[in-house]
C-alpha cells in the first residue's frame, strides 16, 4: 500500500469516527425539517362551484413528482384547487412542535433535502481534498460541476429567453395555454424578427455538423455586430462620459460646520481628496497614453500614474483575497453549522435541541 493511500485511509477513518461519535452524542447532525402548507388557486373561467381538493389527496410533493399538473388538467373552470408545499424550517421549530404535540405531522424531517445536505457536504469536502493533491474525489466533483452548470444555463436560456420571446412570438397559443397566459399577442414585426432569430439560431447549431461550418458564421457575425454596437454606446455612456463627469470636481471645497461657520479641517481634507483624485486620474491617463514618449514632465506624470495604479491593484488584490476568504468562511460555516451542528450562530437549534 502506497504512503498516499495509507494517509487517505487514516484521514477517512478519523473522519468517519468523528461522524459516528457526533451522530451518537448531542443532538444529532445534518437534518432538514420542513413545514407543510397548503396553497389554493382558483381556475379562471365561468362556474360558481368551489370544490376544494382535500388536503393530502393531491399527490404533488415538491421535488418528488409533477402531480400538480394533473390537478390542473382535471380541475374545471371556477374550481378551487389545493396543493401542498413544504417550506424549510429551523430544527428548533420541529423541537417546539414535538414538545407541544409529539404526534404532530405539520413539521417533519425532509429526506430529499437531508440527502441533499449530505451530498453538498460530500461535494464540499471533495473539492477541498484538492488541497492535499489531485484525486478521484476532486475529479468527480469537477466532472459534476461541468455537467450541471452546462445544463443549468441551457435550461435558464430556454425557459427565460426562448420560451417567452421566441416561442411566445411564433407559437403564442401554445405558450399562453402552457406557460404564460398573460402573454400579449405578438405583432407581425415580432413574428418576423423571431423567425429570423430561429433561422440564425439553427444556422448557429450547424457548427456541430462535420461539414458546412461557414453557415454558423452568419449568426456569429450578427452577434459580433450587435455586441460591438451595444458596447460602444454603453461604455461611452457609463464609463467614459460618467467617469469623466464624476472627475470634474471643485479643487477647493468649503464644508460648513455645525454652527454654520466653515469647518477648516473638513474643508482642507475635502479639497486635498479632490486634488489627489483629479491628479491621480490625469496621471494614470497620461501613463496610458503611448503616442508620446514618457520623458520629462510626461514621464514624471506617468510615473505618478503608475503609483496610483499600483495602489489600485493592491486594493483590488486585498478585496479579492477578502472575497475568497469570505467564501471559504461560508463553506466552513456550512460544514460546521448546517451539516455537523457543531456551531449555531443563527440560533437555529439552540432553543430546543
Amino acid at each position: 500500500m502506497s504512503r498516499q493511500r495509507k494517509t487517505w485511509l487514516v484521514i477517512g477513518a478519523i473522519f468517519l469516527a468523528l461522524l459516528v461519535v457526533r451522530g451518537m452524542t448531542g443532538q444529532g447532525l445534518g437534518r432538514i425539517y420542513v413545514q407543510r402548507s397548503e396553497v389554493t388557486a382558483t381556475m379562471p373561467g365561468a362556474g360558481d362551484g368551489t370544490k376544494a381538493a382535500a388536503p393530502g389527496t393531491n399527490p404533488t410533493v415538491p421535488g418528488q413528482g409533477a402531480g400538480s399538473k394533473d390537478a390542473k388538467v382535471v380541475a374545471a373552470a371556477g374550481e378551487t384547487v389545493v396543493w401542498a408545499e413544504w417550506k424549510e424550517v429551523p430544527p428548533r421549530a420541529f423541537a417546539a412542535a414535538q414538545q407541544a404535540n409529539p404526534s404532530q405531522s405539520a413539521i417533519t424531517l425532509s429526506w430529499p433535502r437531508t440527502i441533499g445536505l449530505w451530498l453538498a457536504a460530500f461535494f464540499t469536502l471533495a473539492v477541498f481534498s484538492f488541497l492535499y493533491a489531485d484525486n478521484p474525489f476532486y475529479k468527480v466533483a469537477e466532472a459534476t460541476v461541468v455537467g450541471v452548470s452546462a445544463a443549468y444555463w441551457g435550461v435558464i436560456g430556454f425557459w427565460d429567453t426562448l420560451v417567452p420571446k421566441m416561442f411566445g412570438a411564433l407559437t403564442p397559443g401554445l405558450v399562453k395555454s402552457m406557460v404564460q397566459p398573460s402573454l400579449v399577442d405578438p405583432v407581425m414585426s415580432q413574428k418576423i424578427s423571431m423567425a429570423l432569430a430561429l433561422i440564425l439560431g439553427v444556422m448557429m447549431l450547424w457548427r456541430l455538423m462535420p461539414k458546412g461550418g461557414w453557415i454558423s458564421a452568419w449568426p456569429l457575425a450578427f452577434i459580433v455586430g450587435v455586441t460591438a454596437g451595444l458596447k460602444i454606446v454603453s461604455h461611452i455612456e457609463s464609463d467614459l462620459m460618467a467617469q469623466a463627469q464624476a472627475t470634474m470636481k471643485p479643487l477647493i471645497v468649503t464644508v460648513a460646520g455645525s454652527g454654520g461657520a466653515t469647518d477648516l479641517w473638513a474643508s482642507l481634507w475635502a479639497s486635498v481628496a479632490n486634488i489627489i483624485l483629479v491628479t491621480g486620474v490625469i496621471c494614470c491617463l497620461v501613463y496610458f497614453f503611448f503616442s508620446v514618449e514618457h520623458k520629462g514632465a510626461i514621464g514624471g506624470a506617468a510615473r505618478v500614474g503608475i503609483w496610483f495604479l499600483m495602489i489600485t491593484f493592491g486594493a483590488a488584490f486585498g478585496y479579492t483575497v477578502m472575497g475568497r476568504i469570505a467564501l471559504l468562511a461560508a463553506r466552513v460555516e456550512f460544514l460546521f453549522d448546517d451539516w455537523l451542528w457543531l456551531i449555531d450562530p443563527n440560533h437555529f437549534r439552540s432553543s430546543g435541541l
Binding site: G147, V179, V226
Partner: protein
C-alpha cells in the same frame, strides 16, 4: 461570399444598434436587433451544452483516458437538463393555475432547485473558496518589496485586508481621537475613496476608449480577425 455576407451582417446589425441610440426612427430596429440577439445568445447556450455532450460522448466511445469522468459529466448534464426542461415538482403559478408550466424554476422544493442548492452551489462556491489558498500562496511567493511600486502595492493590500477586519481595529484602536484618521479602518476607507477611485476611474476610461475604438474598427470592416484568417 463566405466572408463578405457575414461582414455586411455585422455592419448592418452593429450600425442598427448604434443608430437606435441616437435616431428615434431607428429605435424599433434597435429593439428588434436586441431581441434577436438575446434569442441567438440563448441558443448559443444550447450550442455550448450540445457541444459539451458531443465531446464527452466522443471521449466515451473512444474510451479515452478519464472516460469514467465523462460518464459523470454527461450523466449529470442529462439529469439536470431533463429536470429543468420538464419542471419536475414545480407547481403552476397561483395566478395562472390553468397553465401547467407557469411556475418558475426557482420554486422552493423543486427538483431543479434541489440540484442547484445541493449540487451546483456547494461545488461552485467551494471551488472559488479554494482560490483563497492559492491566491495567498502565490502572493507569498511572488510579492517582494523590491521597488517603490511593489511597496505601494503591498502596503495598500495590507491596509485593505487589515482595515476591514477586527485585527485592524485591534492594532490601531489605541490611536487618540485627533489621530483617528490613521486608524487602519479609516485609512482603508480613504484609500478606497480617493486613491483606488482615481486608478480604477482611469482604467475604466481607458477600457471605454479601447472598446469604442475596437467596436468602430469592426463596424467599419477594418478589423476582420473575428472572421478567421487574419485581418485581411
Amino acid at each position: 461570399m463566405k466572408r463578405v455576407i457575414p461582414l455586411w451582417i455585422a455592419v448592418i446589425a452593429g450600425f442598427g444598434i448604434l443608430f437606435s441610440s441616437f435616431i428615434p426612427v431607428a429605435e424599433r430596429a434597435g429593439e428588434m436587433f436586441a431581441d434577436i440577439f438575446s434569442v441567438i445568445a440563448a441558443i448559443a447556450f444550447i450550442l455550448g451544452a450540445l457541444s459539451l455532450a458531443k465531446q464527452h460522448l466522443g471521449k466515451l466511445s473512444r474510451r479515452e483516458a478519464g472516460w469514467g469522468y465523462s460518464i459523470i459529466t454527461f450523466g449529470t448534464f442529462i439529469a439536470m437538463l431533463f429536470i429543468g426542461m420538464s419542471k419536475i415538482g414545480i407547481h403552476p403559478n397561483t395566478q395562472y393555475p390553468q397553465a401547467p408550466y407557469s411556475g418558475g424554476n426557482d420554486t422552493e422544493g423543486s427538483a431543479f432547485m434541489w440540484m442547484y442548492e445541493y449540487v451546483m452551489t456547494p461545488l461552485t462556491s467551494t471551488m472559488f473558496a479554494l482560490l483563497a489558498f492559492f491566491v495567498a500562496s502565490a502572493a507569498f511567493r511572488a510579492f517582494r518589496a523590491k521597488n517603490t511600486e511593489a511597496v505601494l502595492l503591498l502596503i495598500t493590500a495590507f491596509i485593505i485586508l487589515l482595515g476591514r477586519t477586527f485585527a485592524g481595529v485591534l492594532l490601531t484602536g489605541w490611536l487618540p481621537d485627533w489621530a483617528s484618521g490613521l486608524r487602519l479602518e479609516n485609512l482603508s476607507v480613504y484609500v478606497m475613496q480617493v486613491f483606488n477611485t482615481a486608478g480604477s476611474r482611469a482604467i475604466m476610461i481607458g477600457i471605454a476608449l479601447g472598446v469604442a475604438a475596437t467596436g468602430l474598427r469592426i463596424l467599419f470592416g477594418l478589423d476582420r480577425s473575428w472572421l478567421g484568417g487574419g485581418d485581411a
